[in-house]
């Protein structure tokens, strides 16, 4: 079957406009600025600095922990998460140091950061630290000095203020681009 040139042109014209009309509102990566929303892809690394001094024996599970975002998160030349904005997490694990050289443990879960439009960006990741390995020393001390050495306490787990660490964006998330002044 032969198609006339006019009909073929009309079909191409309709296909072209149809594809524009069907374009998604939220774009990932390049070319999304005009639509008003951009997507922060899941797995994007967010560099953070810890703002609290954390000590395993003083912290409680669920207690809030604060971070600062250390670098602008730029997508498609737009800053979506600003350097210096706040990120929050919580204590996921906190055990005290104890006798027989038992060291404390401390785990943080990083929850979210605030994007330029005020949206909470869900984050994942977070470190877990132990207070040090002193088990062998305690065992040797017990052998040398007897049961009295069982009262040797392990170390408390600590993560000092200023520690630099990374979190990851938990799945694709849309951020509105603020209008330019």
């Amino acid at each position: 079957m032969k198609t006339s040139p006019t009909l073929a042109f009309s079909m191409l014209f309709l296909l072209f406009w149809g594809s524009i009309a069907a374009a998604p509102l939220v774009c990932q990566g390049s070319g999304g600025a005009a639509s008003g929303k951009l997507t922060v892809p899941g797995g994007t690394v967010i560099h953070l600095v810890l703002m609290d001094d954390l000590q395993g024996r003083k912290m409680k599970v669920g207690e809030q922990v604060h971070f600062l975002v250390r670098e602008d998160q730029v997508i498609d030349r737009q800053i979506l998460i600003r350097n210096g904005s706040i990120a929050v997490g919580h204590i996921a694990l906190a055990t005290k140091n104890g006798f027989v050289g038992k060291s404390g443990k401390l785990g943080i879960q990083i929850d979210s950061a605030i994007a330029v439009d005020g949206t909470k960006i869900r984050l994942r990741g977070g470190p877990e630290v132990v207070g040090g390995r002193e088990g062998a020393v305690t065992a040797a001390a017990t052998a040398e000095y007897g049961p009295g050495a069982l009262f040797i306490r392990g170390w408390d787990a600590r993560i000092p203020v200023g520690t630099k660490l990374n979190a990851f964006v938990d799945g694709d998330q849309a951020v509105s681009i603020p209008p330019k002044p």
Binding site: V45, E128, R133, V137, E144
Partner: protein
């Protein structure tokens, strides 16, 4: 001090020598790409001042980032003798260890188990001078065995080979390299150690860039 400040000083009519003296006595954050240099030229900043700006960015110590986080160089300047109890208990079979250490339970950078170490070396430094070494976490410090005396081995000096991690260094242009570990690291304390940086008579047991792996 940044490019804008230099342009400002130049436009205020301050002499080259004054601007250069200020550059030398300040912490600088110059941007010196071709476009930035053209902007400085357009703003009538003299070649002499631009040369001083370029000179101020020359590295004297390596610049290191681990998983994208900048790490400061640390000097291992403290040392202790350990393992005396084990030595006594085993009737001298176990050696006494000489350990250098860094203060603090953990490093100020927490890295992944497959850390990407980006290093920019100063001129005349080579990537062969850098090794990744596992340290012992000890509650209030991180220890590095630098020698042992007695026991079955007699005397040994240097970092234990089983504590040195296998690494792969890929050139990334100029004096930039990307170091990765061949195997996934265990949770613990590590240091990117500069081989030959120790100066025992002066109480320096080496320099390095420490990090904690989670």
């Amino acid at each position: 001090m940044d490019n804008a400040r230099v342009i400002q000083m130049s436009q205020k009519g301050l002499g080259d020598d004054v601007i250069i003296a200020r550059i030398k006595s300040s912490v600088t954050r110059f941007k010196l790409s071709d476009d930035d240099l053209a902007d400085l030229k357009k703003a009538s900043v003299s070649d002499k001042v631009v040369a001083a700006m370029i000179d101020s960015t020359r590295l004297t110590i390596p610049r290191v980032q681990i998983d994208g986080n900048p790490v400061q160089i640390h000097t291992i300047g403290e040392q202790k003798v350990g393992g005396r109890l084990g030595h006594d208990l085993t009737m001298g079979i176990k050696s006494v260890k000489n350990k250098a250490y860094l203060e603090g339970q953990h490093a100020s950078v927490i890295a992944s188990r497959n850390p990407v170490i980006e290093i920019e070396l100063p001129p005349n430094d080579t990537i062969d001078n850098y090794i990744v070494v596992e340290m012992d976490g000890k509650g209030d410090r991180r220890e590095l065995e630098i020698g042992s005396i007695g026991g079955t081995v007699g005397e040994k000096v240097g970092i234990r080979s089983d504590r040195i991690m296998r690494i792969s260094a890929a050139p990334a242009g100029g004096q930039h390299y990307k170091i990765t570990t061949v195997e996934q690291l265990k949770k613990g304390e590590y240091i990117l150690y500069a081989v030959g940086s120790a100066d025992f008579p002066h109480g320096v047991y080496g320099h390095g860039f420490d990090f904690t792996v989670q």
